[in-house]
């Protein structure tokens, strides 16, 4: 029994980053966030990285990394889940409050917009936009400060909350938004794996 189960597990286990299913649209591919059991679709040509994708993790994260723009900033679409009892934020309200709070050492010139109502997976969500900077190359003596935009969608999910984020240089942001909107539209609970 154990052998059969093991064989089945080994034959059918499909870690999210290893063998994603091709989405019906040729230009996107599925990305699964485990163990949060969420799926979405990201541009097929983008790189994909996962963190915390182990059983019991309360903070798994997935990032689709786009190509570098002319200004050196890489566009990224991130999906993160902060599970119930995670060590960082009590709930989505606490997360949003932290985004809006300037903190003890604000970044000069940064602007954070108001929290707005939105929807995600057919349920109420919140949207927040920010204008900030990246130094290219980071920490360089002579690094260029490149304007960067962020857009976050935050929604309660499975006892915790999820964050879907787009981050790109100001020059590339509008070009990247369709991919972000597709990822938001495709975001849904993932069916369990296995036979």
């Amino acid at each position: 029994m154990a052998l059969t189960k093991l064989a089945a597990v080994l034959l059918l286990a499909l870690p999210a980053s290893a063998a994603p299913k091709r989405a019906s649209a040729a230009k996107t591919r599925e990305a699964r966030l485990e163990p949060a059991k969420l799926r979405t679709e990201v541009p097929a040509a983008w790189g994909l990285t996962q963190d915390g994708a182990v059983a019991g993790s309360l903070t798994p994260a997935l990032t689709a990394l786009g190509p570098e723009g002319k200004d050196g900033v890489r566009t990224r679409i991130g999906l993160r889940w902060y599970g119930p009892g995670n060590r960082y934020f009590k709930d989505s309200a606490a997360y949003l409050a932290r985004q809006a709070d300037a903190g003890p050492i604000p970044v000069a010139g940064e602007k954070t917009g108001p929290v707005e109502d939105a929807s995600l997976m057919g349920k109420p969500a919140k949207r927040l936009k920010r204008e900030t900077f990246e130094t290219i190359p980071p920490q360089s003596h002579e690094g260029r400060s490149v304007p960067v935009k962020e857009e976050l969608l935050v929604a309660d999910y499975d006892g915790g909350f999820l964050v879907l984020e787009l981050r790109a240089s100001a020059a590339d942001f509008d070009k990247a938004r369709p991919a972000f909107e597709r990822a938001a539209a495709a975001l849904s609970p993932a069916k369990p794996r296995g036979p």
Binding site: A2, L3, L6, A7, V9, L10, A13, L14, P15, S17, A18, A19, P20, R22, E34, A45, W46, L48, T49, Q50, D51, A53, V54, A55, A61, T63, G66, E68, R74, R80, Y82, R87, Y88, R98, Q99, D101, G103, P104, I105, P106, V107, A108, G109, E110, F133, E134, T135, I136, P137, P138, Q139, S140, H141, E142, G143, R144, V163, E165, R193, G194
Partner: protein
């Protein structure tokens, strides 16, 4: 010192290795339970089939995640276990490299630097494997990353052909050989680029176009040089335009002469120097501030003689800074932890020049924590001050000490990591996870200090200081990124700040290198030594004086490594033979365990999140009331004043503190250390990193 210097380079990230960020594989509870319940021999069958025969990264991921069974598999059959472990870590690492990098350049560097990886020894075989087993990897990108001829631009094909390469022969060449050819072309192109000194906006635009082309074929350390040069050139051209406008039609003779010198300058330093002189003559009256273009020229330029440290000034300043920093760390989780650490370990602070992009450095060779003199002096120049002011003016001293504080905390954390390895007899693995740890704790320190120390927060939040001091700008950026989203923070640090640093999996793969590979390499070295023994001592000495290390390139097969041994000095070759013998002996006797070391490093990585989370929970909202207890702020809230200075002369340095020995006694010789010092291309400890890399500007712990 070809592959070995690559070894150093990889550690130093001079050969910028794109992020092989840690991906702990997805393993659900059921999978693990199934594996842990299976008989040992069955596990061998399944994993040998899946990992060694099928080369399936899914099975490799499951194997690595199932560390609960590693001990019994190893006890049952050590060599069989090591074989699976070696291939599993290799596949996990390569999977990560291929999925994380949509651009061929960083992917190529990452692949080229994976010294000794079996899958990379044969390029067509590697491409076939990625196509079959990694369907999500973009084949166009992978082919470009391994420099397939038809993916090279016409210009590059022409330049490589000029070196004697032919397309038909290229198809059979390994990635190692192709990378070597590319490195020759790109080195020449970079030298030519940095000999160009633009004088007009049009020339600058042309330089930018060249920079963008070159960017795609350079290794990360050279990308830093490229963009640093371009940005300084941009400051120079803007400065020249601004100075001309300010000078008007009838400039003063000194200004006219300086502008003429700037226009015909043959080097960027000379141009910036002359522009500085021109702006001296164009200073606004009534103490009004200079235009930003003038300040930028001064920051970028070489400065005047009194804006450079003498050895005595550097020594005095370093002592002053050291005392101040230890005091300022007090009252924070990271700072107090370091203060405790430094009660037992030496705090050897060094202020020294560092190349563009490096703010600080920890070197285990001499156990020193260094900060960039260049950045400090850039600030001094930008303020129009001299080094003497840094030693005598409490205000500018305080500003710089507050600016560098978090950098020193970061490097101190690396020193603490080194002591952790030493005390547990673990190998010197430099991994990206340690950079993420140091960056996380550093960012948490900035937040905590900022929430408790109003003067520090005010200084760090000052827009002018964020503009003038890289240390301040970076500290505010990372502190806010960590504060807002700690989970996203880790990923960004890995991929944007340290794309060149290998992961725990890479190091584990190297540490599990096949003894047969090492023996073949050793035979090659022995043959070269035998050849040299037949030379006369004079001939041998002449050979050693003439050997020039091969440029840093990784090797993937023993034959590639052997092909480079003639470039090593004789003493180095003898040391390698000895170290390899020890490694093979220790491996065969079971005295080294890559899997145990891997588990120890993974465990530390997991703990970091817990500890940083604790600090963040404490610092969720700023608590600046202005009435902070003295204990919270580290003394009276401002740095201790510098020692009294005799007018016109430097005071004697403060009395020397009782200094613990600079170097701790060597720990008992650890077998893995021998491997780490001999495997071609594998990072070696005990070397200083002098070459920063794009995205790896700091903490170049060798």
């Amino acid at each position: 010192m070809g592959p070995l210097s690559r070894l150093v380079a990889a550690v130093l990230f001079c050969a910028a290795l794109p992020a092989a960020a840690v991906e702990r594989p997805v393993v659900g509870g059921d999978d693990q339970a199934a594996v842990e319940g299976a008989p040992t021999e069955r596990l061998f069958e399944v994993f040998e089939e899946g990992v060694l025969t099928e080369r399936d990264p899914v099975k490799a991921a499951l194997f690595l995640a199932s560390n609960g069974v590693h001990a019994r598999m190893k006890a049952a059959d050590g060599p069989r276990f090591e074989s699976i472990f070696r291939q599993a870590t290799e596949m996990a690492d390569l999977n990560r490299v291929l999925t994380e990098h949509p651009n061929p350049g960083p992917m190529r560097e990452a692949l080229a630097a994976r010294a000794g990886f079996d899958l990379l020894a044969d390029t067509p075989g590697f491409l076939a494997w990625t196509k079959q087993k990694l369907p999500h990897a973009d084949q166009k990108t992978v082919r470009a990353a391994v420099l397939e001829w038809d993916t090279l631009s016409p210009d590059l094909q022409k330049a490589i052909a000029a070196q004697g390469a032919k397309p038909e022969a290229w198809a059979r060449q390994s990635l190692h050989a192709r990378s070597a050819a590319l490195a020759q072309v790109s080195a020449k192109a970079l030298t030519e680029f940095m000999a160009t000194v633009p004088k007009t906006p049009k020339e600058l635009e042309a330089l930018l176009a060249r920079a963008r082309k070159l960017d795609g074929i350079l290794e990360n350390s050279d990308r830093h040089k490229l963009w640093d040069f371009y940005n300084r050139a941009s400051d120079a051209v803007t400065g020249l335009e601004t100075a001309r406008k300010l000078a008007g039609k009838n400039p003063a003779p000194a200004v006219k002469a300086a502008l003429a010198e700037a226009t015909k300058a043959g080097s960027l330093d000379a141009m910036l120097g002359s522009l500085g002189a021109a702006f001296d003559g164009l200073k606004p009256r009534g103490g009004a501030p200079e235009p930003e273009a003038a300040a930028a020229v001064r920051r970028a330029g070489p400065g005047t003689a009194d804006q450079r440290f003498t050895p005595e000034q550097r020594a005095t300043y370093t002592e002053m800074l050291k005392h101040s920093l230890i005091e300022q760390m007090k009252g924070t989780a990271a700072g107090d932890r370091l203060r405790e650490f430094y009660k037992k370990e030496p705090f050897n602070l060094v202020v020294k020049p560092m190349e563009g992009g490096t703010m600080g450095l920890y070197s285990p060779r001499d156990n020193t924590v260094s900060v960039s003199e260049d950045l400090i002096l850039k600030f001094v120049r930008g303020q129009g001050r001299a080094v003497g002011d840094l030693l005598q003016d409490p205000e500018i001293f305080r500003q710089v000490s507050q600016a560098v504080l978090s950098t020193v905390v970061h490097e101190g954390i690396h020193q603490e990591q080194e002591a952790w390895r030493r005390d547990r007899n673990l190998p010197h693995w430099y991994v990206v996870e340690h950079e993420v740890e140091a960056k996380s704790r550093e960012a948490a320190f900035v937040l905590e200090k900022g929430s408790k120390d109003e003067a520090y927060a005010k200084f760090m939040a000052d827009p002018e200081m964020q503009k003038k001091l890289s240390f301040v700008r970076e500290a505010s950026l990372i502190a806010n990124e960590l504060r807002r989203d700690p989970v996203a923070f880790g990923e960004r640090i890995r991929t944007a700040y340290y794309p060149g640093v290998v992961s725990i999996e890479t190091q584990a793969r190297w540490a599990a290198q096949d003894p047969a590979w090492m023996r073949e390499y050793q035979r090659g070295i022995a043959a070269e030594l035998a050849r040299r023994e037949k030379l006369t001592p004079a001939e041998r000495a002449a050979l050693d004086s003439k050997t020039v290390p091969q440029p840093d390139r990784s090797v993937h097969s023993p034959s590639e490594a052997v092909a480079l041994v003639s470039t090593f000095k004789t003493a180095e070759l003898r040391e390698r033979v000895r170290a390899i013998s020890q490694y093979v002996s220790d491996k065969e006797a079971g005295r080294v365990s890559a899997a145990s070391d891997y588990a120890a490093f993974v465990s530390r990585d997991r703990r970091t999140g817990v500890e940083v989370g604790g600090v963040l929970a404490m610092v969720t909202t700023p608590k600046r009331t202005g009435n902070l207890a003295l204990g919270d702020r580290g003394g009276d809230g401002s740095p201790p004043p510098p020692p009294p200075v005799l007018k016109g002369r430097l005071a004697a340095p403060p009395p020397a503190l009782a200094k613990p020995p600079l170097l701790r006694p060597d720990p008992p010789k650890r077998p893995a250390a021998a491997l780490q010092s001999t495997l071609p291309g594998v990072p070696r400890g005990h070397e200083d990193c002098q070459n920063p890399t794009h995205g790896h500007p700091r903490s170049q712990w060798p």
